[in-house]
């Protein structure tokens, strides 16, 4: 009863915010509506993992599925949505688009709503539609600034992702076709039904369908080499939207891959699906590393870091087992917090210096004491250094991979993470400590709205790095049972 109330609150709050924004249209009021919706969403999402004790719950005529994975991803999404909504209040005022601000907040709440719907859908067809809807709403957020670059980014985004996601639809239909040999022509397309039928479906068809789904949703997750839309969209969108794209959207699409992977594990295909996911993860890390080293744009740097971290998450799920899945889910939360922090910092610096180019940003630590240090701490955290949460989750994922089949991937991952650490920190060294002959003019200060969410993101990140609560560990390893029934 409480749970269905929470679920309703998750969806009704953003919906109400959309309607109110479109009706009232006053910029300050719209800020308040969106922020209130985000706070309600967070309040409703926080108890969900505690409330589902030991069992999956199915609601509303089997259309909604609340399992541990879903509740966890919803928690990540709600956190990012809340932080980004606080940040948006400060950041969007700088854009001087007061008359169009109500559209922004309506779209922003809509984007939050669609990312909150996807992970909880029990029907594989409706899940696909939810993912498609996230694209359509976020395209207009990417294009919000109405300059040539953001138009280009929006066009590439919708084109690449729609084409990619149509492959996922094809894979979904092939899965359904395979199931229809076992269950008859008409049946409910839920994850559980498909999983129960999977052992009797022909492995060739199942493998073909899984590969199509992996490439399709992989496009949305930003796994290389289907990541091409990601750096453009993340760098050209307003900073709060970038944080949502990176921290909320990518996880939402990852859920689909993980659930389909769980279905294939019940069958006799063996380790090939896992191997393909590990390969995609490794390539993403490689592409991320190469582009991070030579990056010139500050937000593109963060975007390639997202490609890298989605690669790490893919590796975790690919390795499988309790360690791999728990590490990957933990990494999702850490990455969501940390990447929000990084995009907030990047947005502040970008607005203060009036440029996106790393070469023109100097002396960040000198001009900004509090937020400069926060951003630097975030940079240390995002490269996987202790004492932050990402160190723990990356370490867990590496331990999970130390099996005869996948140990090569762990070694490659270790080398690439070191390369990324050096490349990433070098950019920060330049921005913080390199002196120039001609001092750039002192940048403008950021408002408190833009700094407070950075604190709110860093604090849990530090806590999660120093102390991995036993409850969370049990929760995440229990999620493994539904996601990988065959442990190695």
């Amino acid at each position: 009863m409480i749970i269905s109330g929470c679920l309703l609150a998750l969806w009704i709050a953003p919906l109400a915010a959309i309607i109110l924004c479109l009706l009232v249209r006053h910029p300050r009021a719209c800020e308040a509506f969106n922020l209130a919706a985000a706070a309600i969403v967070l309040a409703a999402a926080l108890p969900l993992p505690f409330l589902i004790a030991d069992h999956e719950l199915v609601f509303w005529d089997d259309y909604v599925l609340l399992d541990r994975t879903g509740a966890w991803v919803i928690l990540c999404t709600a956190t990012v949505y809340f932080l980004a909504s606080i940040y948006a209040v400060g950041y969007m005022r700088l854009l001087r688009e007061e008359s169009r601000l109500y559209i922004f907040y309506a779209l922003f709440a809509g984007f939050g709503l669609t990312t909150l719907i996807g992970p909880l859908m029990n029907s594989i067809g409706i899940y696909w539609i939810a993912i498609e809807l996230t694209t359509l709403v976020s395209t207009f957020l990417v294009a919000f600034e109405h300059v040539a670059e953001s138009m280009e980014a929006a066009w590439k985004y919708i084109m690449v992702v729609s084409a990619g996601i149509s492959l996922a639809l094809l894979g979904t239909i092939l899965f359904y076709w395979g199931g229809s040999f076992v269950l008859g022509p008409t049946y409910k397309m839920t994850w559980a039904v498909l999983a129960s039928a999977a052992p009797q479906i022909n492995p060739i068809l199942l493998l073909l369908a899984f590969l199509l789904v992996l490439v399709g949703y992989g496009t949305k997750v930003g796994l290389a080499p289907m990541h091409t839309w990601l750096p453009d969209a993340h760098s050209e969108a307003p900073a709060p939207v970038s944080a949502m794209l990176s921290g909320a959207l990518l996880n939402t699409a990852m859920v689909g891959i993980v659930r389909f992977l769980a279905i294939t594990r019940r069958t006799g295909i063996g380790e090939l699906p896992q191997l393909v996911l590990v390969l995609f993860g490794t390539v993403s890390l490689l592409i991320g590393a190469l582009f991070i080293i030579r990056q010139q744009g500050i937000k593109r740097l963060m975007a390639y870091s997202s490609v890298e971290h989605m690669g790490v998450v893919a590796l975790g799920f690919g390795f499988g087992g309790p360690l791999g899945v728990a590490g990957a889910l933990y990494h999702m939360l850490n990455h969501s917090l940390n990447k929000s922090l990084m995009f907030f910092g990047a947005g502040n610096v970008m607005r203060a210096y009036g440029t996106k180019e790393i070469d023109k940003i100097r002396g960040v630590g000198r001009y900004f004491t509090a937020q400069g240090n926060l951003w630097l701490a975030g940079a240390i955290a995002i490269t996987g250094a202790p004492p932050f949460g990402l160190f723990l989750s990356e370490f867990t994922i590496m331990r999970a991979g130390l099996t005869p089949t996948f140990s090569w991937a762990v070694y490659v991952m270790a080398v690439l993470l070191i390369v990324i650490f050096i490349g990433f920190m070098n950019h920060f060294r330049v921005m913080y400590y390199q002196c120039e002959a001609t001092e750039p003019p002192a940048p403008a200060k950021s408002s408190a709205w833009c700094v407070v969410p950075m604190w709110l993101a860093l604090a849990p990140l530090l806590v999660l790095g120093l102390w991995w609560p036993g409850g969370i560990w049990h929760y995440l390893t229990a999620a493994t049972q539904t996601l990988s029934p065959v442990s190695p």
């Binding site: 029907s123 067809g125 409706i126 539609i129 498609e132 809807l133 359509l136 395209t139 207009f140 294009a143 109405h146 300059v147 040539a148 670059e149 138009m151 280009e152 980014a153 929006a154 066009w155 590439k156 919708i158 084109m159 729609s162 084409a163 149509s166 492959l167 639809l169 094809l170 239909i173 359904y176 076709w177 229809s180 040999f181 008859g184 022509p185 008409t186 409910k188 397309m189 022909n202 060739i204 068809l205 073909l208 750096p231 453009d232 760098s235 050209e236 582009f291 030579r294 990056q295 010139q296 744009g297 593109r300």
Partner: protein, 226 residues
């Protein structure tokens, strides 16, 4: 399962409609006038609507009649009309800079069909369906998919790219009518509506591109690299 016991008449009717759709995809691939793409796309959608109705008739799925009508209305009339409105706003009526000559792309498309046939045959023989219309349905599905991707890759006018995307979707829709006619009605309807929203979004974006970039060719979208 429907495809395992089809009469010869139904079988040849399904085959005919599937092949007509594939041929129309080739018409789109071989032409460089935007109007021709549009007419071929509309005709393809009508063929698919007819296929839905035929599957509904022979397979005893009355709800497919509704799908057929909606396909005809949405894919056959409303979408072409929306795209026609977008074309009218543009100053271009054909692809100007051709990356791949239409004749060459036809040959590439033919190779794609062979590749799709090889895969379909292998998948269908795993189910002992190699003598049924399933092979053809899978072949048309996969080759329209590949042709759609080819169109996305070698065409750069915004309209051609939208139509390429719609060919991808048409292929899936066509295949699903024959392979999984019993798919829940709700999903098919929502996918149809979804398509309408996608095209509406593209329409808005094309307008933005015109105002803020001054061109609708993806060759001019090269600011963001690296």
């Amino acid at each position: 399962m429907l495809i395992q016991h089809l009469g010869p008449l139904a079988s040849s009717l399904f085959s005919l409609l599937a092949i007509v759709s594939l041929l129309l995809a080739f018409v789109m691939l071989g032409s460089r006038w935007l109007k021709n793409y549009l007419f071929a796309f509309a005709a393809e959608s009508w063929a698919i609507a007819a296929l839905s109705a035929a599957v509904g008739f022979y397979g005893g799925y009355p709800e497919l009649y509704l799908i057929a009508i909606l396909t005809l209305l949405f894919r056959g009339l409303l979408l072409p009309y929306l795209i026609w409105r977008i074309i009218r706003r543009l100053s271009v009526d054909r692809e100007i800079h051709v990356i791949l000559q239409p004749s060459t792309s036809l040959v590439v498309g033919a190779f794609f069909v062979m590749f799709a046939l090889a895969i379909s045959y292998r998948v269908a023989s795993a189910f002992h369906l190699e003598l049924t219309v399933a092979v053809l349905a899978l072949t048309v599905l996969l080759s329209m998919k590949l042709i759609g991707f080819l169109m996305l890759a070698v065409r750069h006018e915004a309209i051609s790219q939208i139509l390429g995307l719609l060919v991808l979707e048409n292929g899936i829709f066509l295949g699903s009518q024959i392979l999984v006619p019993g798919m829940p009605l709700l999903i098919e309807m929502v996918i149809l509506f979804d398509l309408l929203i996608i095209v509406a979004c593209f329409g808005t974006l094309v307008g933005y591109l015109l105002t803020h970039v001054g061109s609708t060719s993806s060759l001019d979208l090269r600011r963001l690299v690296g």
